[in-house]
């Protein structure tokens, strides 16, 4: 029983990371109509920048987290402003740009800081119920970020514009909503979430140039499973996927740990082509 609870707990921790990256991708995809694979690269770059900030500049971890979010936000803003916006309406070109950005930045990181894994220093010591405080912090911070994103979208003026643009883009424009501003904000939001995910996961594992590959792929699965435009759907699917994957690794075979997500995806889409909570 203890092992089962530990597995579920670990699943929730990794699921929180999937959910964070997926939320950013989901918001960007459903509003700007860009499948932004570059979020995987933002995840990696933010982790590295925060690592150097903590190890070289000796800044506290909380500030490193904020720094990682700012880096992610800035990168996403630049990508949108100077690349995706240029190709608005040309979906295939935007998709190619997104894939190119992902590989380009992974290679840049590799060239700058080598493929050798780096270990993020522990910022919290001790544990509770068999989980280290650092692992618990991942779930807590992810939960706080989800609530903040929800409040931002539901309660602020720009959040309302984002919702309007996602429901009826042209109608929103003729009512005075600047779609360029909406897209910039949405990309910055997505970048901040991916950046946070990268910094949160770093102290639990190692930092290396391809560390964004699997979270990106799993986040895409979560987006498709959860359905576009659903914050709750992303949260449930992210956590659920993390738990199922961990249980599969623990009780079936760890050799297929990263394949379970795609088996689940195929099964769900066979019976529910629109995903669990929204539309594909």
């Amino acid at each position: 029983m203890d092992t089962l609870l530990l597995q579920i707990g670990n699943g929730l921790i990794i699921g929180s990371i999937y959910a964070l990256v997926a939320l950013g991708i989901n918001v960007i995809w459903s509003i700007a109509d860009v499948p932004d694979f570059s979020q995987g690269a933002i995840f990696v770059v933010s982790a590295y920048i925060s690592y150097f900030a903590v190890t070289l500049a000796k800044i506290p971890y909380v500030l490193a987290l904020v720094l990682g979010m700012c880096v992610g936000s800035f990168m996403a803003f630049i990508f949108e402003r100077f690349l995706y916006r240029r190709w608005r309406g040309a979906g295939r070109v935007q998709l190619l740009c997104a894939i190119a950005l992902f590989f380009l930045w992974t290679n840049v990181v590799n060239a700058l800081w080598t493929a050798k894994a780096k270990m993020f220093p522990a910022y919290l010591k001790g544990s509770m119920f068999g989980f280290s405080y650092m692992r618990i912090a991942v779930v807590v911070v992810a939960a706080i970020l989800f609530v903040l994103v929800y409040l931002f979208i539901m309660k602020t003026k720009i959040g309302k514009a984002i919702r309007a643009a996602s429901q009826e883009s042209e109608a929103a424009q003729v009512l005075g909503i600047n779609i360029n501003t909406v897209n910039s904000v949405v990309f910055m939001l997505g970048g901040a979430l991916s950046g946070a995910a990268g910094v949160l996961v770093s102290p639990l594992y190692a930092i290396f140039p391809t560390m964004g590959d699997l979270p990106l792929l799993k986040a895409l699965v979560v987006v498709i499973l959860g359905g576009f435009g659903t914050v709750g759907g992303v949260l449930i699917c992210g956590l659920g996927l993390g738990v199922l994957e961990t249980l599969g690794a623990g009780y079936l075979s760890s050799a297929y740990q990263h394949g379970y997500a795609f088996v689940i995806l195929i099964i769900v889409l066979t019976f529910l082509p629109k995903g669990l909570f929204g539309k594909v």
Binding site: K160, V174, G176
Partner: protein, 235 residues
Amino acid sequence: MFLSIRDLYVNYGKFEVLKGVSMEIEEGKISLLLGANGSGKSTLLKTISGLNRPLSGSIWFQETRLNGMASYDILRLGVAQILEGRRIFPHMTVVENLELGAYSRRNKREIAREIEAMCERFPILGKKRKEQSSNLSGGEQQTLVIALALMTKAKLLLMDEPSQGLSPLLVNEVADTITGLNKDGLSIVLVEHNLRLGLSIADQVYVLENGKIAFDASSKDLSGVEYAQKIYLGG
């Protein structure tokens, strides 16, 4: 001139939709734009409101050239559009929709007062103010769309098929609403497939054929609905 369009060309990719449209819209009038499907009526309205970019030509609104301006800047000048197909925000309440109509303004008290006024003017909206707008009937949604446009405080309202999909009874209500708005000083450019409705309320009629204005006349000059129908259907 209130709204002046000169030699306007608009393409969708390589397909020419508007091929040199020129027209003058007078202030305080209801101007009806007729034409067969695909003649470019909706494209013309979207180009005026900044959703489409013209290839060449010019659009002037009260001495300001609209070409190249973004929709939000055009709205600030006083040009609002009601898009075809009752384009409300379905997952928002009636009040949230109305608030979006005042998006470009900041005075919250004034906006709240205007929403109350709008709910008094259209009692059905007041009654259903907290309901999701997707739950409204077709007629109620059309009323909401008109109220949304009024919240923008426009001087010129571009209306694309406001009676589309409505029952005859509701069509009459929409006609009364449009006439009322016009009497209150709002200038209107109306695209309407319902000829009887359009001709009964319009001051000026323009017929768009093959991407050009084929002719324009006062609605009283037209010798009845049958004649207009012949032109309208391209016969």
